[in-house]
């Protein structure tokens, strides 16, 4: 079944067209890559999907409903979660608090229950605590619970950001350069993790990545973006041999 369908999406800044007539389709449980040279407009596409930017034109159909231009929190509640190219954790808060904030979306008690410390508050906090720990264990961050997020090593910060995104229970997870700054070993582990998450949580995943081994290794289909437009789309091996893609990347490593 079709999960996300983007039609003729456009966004420009001043005179610059960052995204122009962009189209994309993702089915449930698919793993899709979005690649392209720096400044091609990939991150802008993500910002449009998640409501951080408002589209100038075009539709973003998610589960049959146009979500283009809705505020980010509504889009999150509909089931899209993301990470950021430049990690945006809640830097001064603990690892645990970072995940708990993502769980707020389904907070199991009311505001008065919190203010007056009703029983449902204590029960609810216990549930939140347990679920947060489950997510941290899954990402092997359990031992870091009480540490301040910004004090974690880079690779762990990236993992925490994914854990936090997943804690919102999305059906579509979008990752902006998840392997950036990771060493080859960490990247391999990440590939494993991405596959596992997809299977375990029945997720569709859309990722931007510069590390070609990762993209080619895990993605089932790949879109190539250049100057805001899709110049190629297909299976990894098709993309690898596509002339226009090679041209677009001329001067950059493939």
């Amino acid at each position: 079944m079709m999960l996300l369908k983007i039609n003729n999406l456009c966004k420009s800044f001043g005179g610059l067209s960052a995204v122009l007539n962009f189209n994309l389709e993702i089915r449930e449980n698919e793993l899709i890559g979005l690649i392209g040279p720096n400044g091609a407009g990939k991150t802008t596409v993500f910002n449009l999907i998640t409501g951080v930017y408002k589209p100038d034109a075009g539709e973003i159909i998610f589960k049959g409903e146009n979500i283009g231009g809705l505020p980010p929190y509504v889009i999150c509640q509909k089931g899209i979660a993301r990470t950021f190219q430049n990690i945006r954790l809640f830097n001064n808060l603990t690892v645990m608090e970072n995940v708990k904030i993502a769980l707020h979306k389904n907070v199991p008690y009311s505001l008065p229950a919190a203010l007056f410390r009703l029983n449902s508050f204590y029960r609810g906090e216990k549930e939140i605590e347990e679920e947060a720990i489950r997510w941290l264990k899954l990402f092997n961050l359990d031992h870091r619970r009480e540490e301040i997020a910004s004090s974690l090593p880079y690779g762990e910060q990236r993992r925490l950001e994914i854990a936090r995104a997943l804690a919102t229970h999305p059906t579509l997870l979008i990752l902006d350069e998840p392997a950036a700054g990771m060493n080859p070993n960490e990247t391999l582990e990440l590939m494993e993790l991405i596959r596992r998450l997809r299977d375990e949580f029945k997720l569709a995943i859309l990722l931007i990545e510069h590390d070609m081994s990762l993209v080619m290794g895990v993605c089932e289909r790949i879109y190539v973006l250049d100057y805001g437009q899709v110049i190629a789309e297909g299976k990894p091996e098709e993309i690898r041999n596509n002339k226009r893609v090679i041209e677009a990347y001329l001067g950059e490593e493939v």
């Binding site: 980010p72 979660a81 993301r82 950021f84 809640f90 808060l93 993502a102 979306k105 008690y109 919190a114």
Partner: protein, 321 residues
């Protein structure tokens, strides 16, 4: 395990009630036997009112990260509405106080919804503007005495009311902050975009914090009005808001215990310098400037002073405070 949690929770509550009862009776005893004279009682009253103001402004400025400079305006609304209810309409004090709080909260909502879309320094100036508008409006309402204000307000604020006010303010705000709703509020301060993408409606949480903060500023206003006999619009100008700001900044944005300690310090400082108002203000000014340059996080940063931390300081291992 569950039994354990419960035993802990009730045990803790019991201990807290015991300590509070002790503080209350202790001060009450000294007032009754006359050790605390009129002058001391005025200081105690100012202290309690300042704590309520500082802790509630800290919810907005410290925990939510939205710099508001209009707190005195909400205090004014609480003061005037409560006096209208008690003095003009003959309602009981409790009704007056609650009415004042609700009116202030409503004012907070009306002002918060449009202005909280603004960021940082723009928000600060807009809230300052709204605070001043409230004052100008009060000056123009003949029913409440115009610029001369209301005189002859019955003195109903007692130590009991003040103490209850402080406890309820601190308890409510701490309960809020230490809950999922509070984490949502703090996430807005930390990173609005990340917070919104995590499903948090940042505008509604800013408004929530603003409304609750205004509610308690209204409480402070009602308690103030029914102690000091007279209120006039000029009392609630933006210098009053700056007073509270000094306390919050000094205590550390985002630390309730910091706000309480700073409120106490500033109250005592003002009392000591009562005869030298200019010097008092110069010291406030220097506190703001020097703190921002040398210790922008304030005395406490965003940490809370607790028995545990005290213990650590005692044993000399601490670097938190």
């Amino acid at each position: 395990m569950i039994m354990n949690v419960f035993a802990n929770r009730w045990g803790k509550l019991g201990a807290e009630i015991l300590i509070l009862a002790f503080i209350f009776l202790f001060v009450q005893y000294f007032i009754t036997v006359g050790v605390f004279n009129q002058y001391h009682q005025i200081i105690i009253t100012s202290l309690c009112i300042n704590i309520i103001l500082a802790v509630s402004l800290n919810l907005i400025n410290g925990f939510t990260g939205q710099l508001s400079l209009g707190h005195a305006g909400f205090m004014a609304v609480g003061a005037y509405v409560s006096v209208v209810l008690t003095k003009f309409m003959g309602m009981p004090f409790l009704v007056g106080l609650v009415g004042g709080c609700l009116a202030a909260a409503a004012a907070g909502f009306v002002i918060g919804v449009p202005t909280l879309r603004l960021k940082g320094d723009y928000l600060a100036i807009a809230t300052l503007g709204f605070g001043e508008i409230i004052r100008v409006i009060l000056q123009n309402i003949e029913y409440v005495g115009g610029p001369a204000g209301i005189v002859g307000i019955p003195k109903m604020t007692t130590w009991g009311w003040l103490f209850a006010g402080v406890v309820i303010t601190i308890a409510t705000i701490q309960n809020l902050i230490n809950s999922s709703y509070g984490r949502a509020i703090i996430s807005v301060r930390e990173d609005e975009i990340a917070s919104e993408v995590m499903g948090i409606n940042i505008t509604s949480y800013k408004v929530l914090a603003f409304v609750i903060g205004a509610f308690f500023a209204g409480l402070a206003g009602g308690l103030y009005a029914h102690y000091f006999y007279i209120i006039k619009p000029e009392t609630f100008n933006f210098l009053k808001s700056f007073d509270v700001l000094v306390m919050v900044v000094l205590g550390g944005l985002g630390s309730t215990t910091g706000a309480v300690i700073a409120a106490a310090f500033i109250t005592l400082l003002s009392a000591a310098l009562q005869a030298f108002p200019a010097i008092r203000m110069i010291i406030y000014a220097l506190i703001l400037i020097l703190l921002m340059i040398y210790r922008p996080q304030g005395l406490m940063g965003n940490k809370e002073l607790s028995v545990k931390i005290l213990g650590k300081i005692w044993s000399g291992k601490n670097d938190a405070a």
